[in-house]
């Protein structure tokens, strides 16, 4: 489709040339004009090989109606929840081809690691072998990035719905908040809350058999073993790994340490194997939730070429790691322009996902979070285009 679009523009301009109708120049004439980019940037600004790329989430079984909507939102890339391991190359190639036919490239896919790898349990080496095979297949089908998580438990129990702009449904997190009357929550959080745990704050919850408590030491042992086994394969295969930080990032999650909820932990992770293939998902929301300046985190990771995926969302933090609210992108404390500008300057070239949209009234009626995603996506695209205009224009 992006080819069609270019064809269309080409056709349009040759038609215009034939009829001697030129394009409007964006020249500023007023005496008080602020300087425009020295070199006129071709418009529309399209993503290039060395720019960030807007991406939206798909399932590997998603059908063309959803895919068509994604094209309309101006995304040429998707990131995908991959099928369960193990895969065959033919299976993944068929998925790549199906999206390709709709004009969409898969910029990364997310795999789920089994407990054997997360907790050093029986079968770990066999399962690591499956991941290595998946990395090789990923390289062969031309998907540049694999995203993964490495935690025992995600502490969703601390989430609750709060009232945002225009009574929008915001997602808040509070480590110490006691469960209110569940009937008060007429939207979708908290969920997965056991009846016998209703009276507890998220900070008081204990580990379960399925998700045992992992100490900080065990975490580092397990992830080091994993990375040392898979990063060389990723390097050989031309694939980059992106570890998503702990989100939410409180100190303990059902008794498990959360090293991936701190900047120090991220630095340590990147040092385990010193390779661009050993990277992370840079999340400007989580970076802010843990009390850091998102731009500092970005600079640290980008300088080491370790940002392999990116989550573009905003937040208002009351107590770092403990209490915060996710907001509309234009309503939080993160300067989203600065984030995008630094990504562009770092020549970050993978996906930008404008995620976690607040719940919109229309979505409340129809279910899902479709309109919320559109708003976030359009905002991020506007930010990206104006940053590209600014940066590329001043280069000339």
């Amino acid at each position: 489709m992006s080819n069609n679009r270019r064809d269309f523009i080409k056709k349009g301009s040759s038609l215009a040339a034939a009829l001697s109708i030129g394009a409007v120049g964006a020249s500023a004439s007023a005496k008080n004009a602020i300087p425009l980019p020295a070199q006129k940037v071709p418009w529309p600004v399209l993503e290039g090989p060395d720019t960030p790329k807007m991406t939206m989430n798909v399932g590997h079984n998603d059908m063309s109606s959803k895919v068509r909507a994604i094209k309309q939102f101006g995304a040429d890339y998707v990131h995908m929840d991959a099928p369960a391991l193990p895969w065959t190359q033919a299976e993944i190639q068929a998925i790549v081809d199906r999206f390709k036919a709709e004009g969409l490239s898969i910029i990364n896919h997310r795999i789920i690691l089994p407990p054997s790898i997360l907790h050093n349990m029986a079968g770990r080496d066999e399962d690591i072998k499956k991941v290595q095979d998946a990395i090789r297949i990923t390289g062969k089908v031309g998907i540049p990035v694999i995203e993964y998580n490495f935690y025992s438990h995600r502490l969703r129990e601390g989430y609750y719905n709060s009232v945002g702009r225009g009574n929008a449904r915001y997602l808040s997190f509070d480590y110490n908040r006691k469960m209110p009357n569940p009937a008060d929550n007429n939207w979708n959080e908290p969920r997965d809350r056991r009846a016998d745990e209703m009276q507890f704050a998220a900070s008081e919850l204990k580990a379960t058999e399925a998700e045992p408590a992992t100490s900080e030491e065990q975490f580092w042992e397990n992830i080091t073993y994993f990375l040392k086994a898979i990063i060389p394969v990723a390097e050989e295969s031309g694939v980059k790994m992106a570890l998503h930080p702990n989100d939410p990032p409180p100190p303990l999650s059902r008794g498990s340490a959360q090293p991936m909820g701190s900047f120090a932990g991220w630095k340590k992770l990147l040092a385990i194997v010193d390779s661009p293939a050993n990277g992370m998902t840079f999340d400007c929301g989580v970076s802010t939730e843990i009390g850091e300046n998102a731009i500092d985190v970005l600079h640290y990771m980008a300088a080491r070429n370790r940002i392999n995926h990116m989550h573009f969302r905003n937040v208002k933090v009351e107590i770092p790691r403990i209490k915060y609210t996710e907001t509309y992108p234009d309503a939080g404390q993160v300067n989203m322009f600065a984030v995008m500008q630094e990504l562009v300057r770092a020549k970050y070239k993978y996906g930008v996902f404008a995620e976690h949209p607040p719940g919109n009234i229309i979505d409340k009626e129809r279910g899902g979070d479709f309109i919320g995603y559109i708003y976030n996506q359009a905002y991020a695209r506007g930010v990206l285009q104006s940053v590209l205009t600014l940066e590329q224009g001043y280069k000339g």
């Binding site: 301009s13 425009l36 600004v45 300067n335 919109n360 506007g382 285009q385 104006s386």
Partner: protein
Amino acid sequence: MSDNRRDFIKKGAALAAALSVGGGGIAEASSLIAEDTEKWGNVKGKMSQIKIAGQITPEPTPETFAFYNQMGINQAVLWTDAKKSSGEYYGSRKKLFADNGINVYGFGNNDVHNQDKLVLNLPGRDEKIEEYKAHLRSLGKAGIGYTTYAHMGNGIWHSEVRGKARGGADARDFNVNAPHYGKWGDNVYHEPLSHGRRYTRDEVWANFKYFIQAVVRTAEENNVHIGIHPDDPPIPEMAGVPRLFTSFEGYKRALDLANNSPAVGLCLCVGSWMEGGDKLGKDAVGMIDYFGSRERIYKIHFRNIYAPLPHFIESFVDDGYTDMYTIMQALKRNNFKGVIIPDHIPKMDGGPNVGIAYSIGYMKALLNRVNAEV
């Protein structure tokens, strides 16, 4: 209120010399309701006064309000027709919207807009002018300071076929060299002659002068600003009917005919203006620099197209041939205080709110961007 009116008239008289802002109408309409957006975009206090407005049904449901509130919108423009037009109705809408956190910046009336009786001096012209003045008085009574007017004798023109925007979204298409028709309300117009004969430009200018001079005083007295919308498409003549608002010079002449009263300015649809390519004397940025610096632009229709005439298709706001960021920059540097609305959005899958949310999200990003510039 009567003090405001006197003030407005006084300022109007002084305006030709002083180029000061016109009166209480716009100032009142632009009073901002608390804005939720974080002020990190506001570097060194240079936040612009550009406001994004929704074009919203005058008969909203609670869900309508919730949707716009959540999009962070606190300004609206509404449209109705002769059946409902009255001071009471406008006032009731103003209050209803204000109770829901949204200021009614402007109100249009489809039955006194794009009227061939006015453009071509057809029987019933003076009654139409009276109807227009009643509309202005109703706005004054309701304390609404803005209304859009267009002087198209045979409507807005479309190709017989629809176009496709990105992702196959259904979009308006117009092609000079393919079958097309004009439309306003229930009236449909065709080439070669929509009204039986070819009218001269002088006739249509005389009719515009007759109309605008008949209503400008009433607009001033009622603190109402009239924004004239470009003829869409901006082709000098369609089906035998000349179109005046198809060039920079046309607008200049029109404002002269209105005695340069601040009650008469522009509703600049930048999309319509892009349709004209380089044929209109100034491009959209040039129009904003000229008329915006003179405080005569009251509303912007913020949309984009893929290529200019002779054949255009409307695009998503980020996907057309114009860098909309340059439009937003021009509004900022000219200290534009009016509203910008999302307009003519290709039909995104999922219903009308989808495209509105997309356009608003994008516009907010550009607005935050220009507000961040020092």
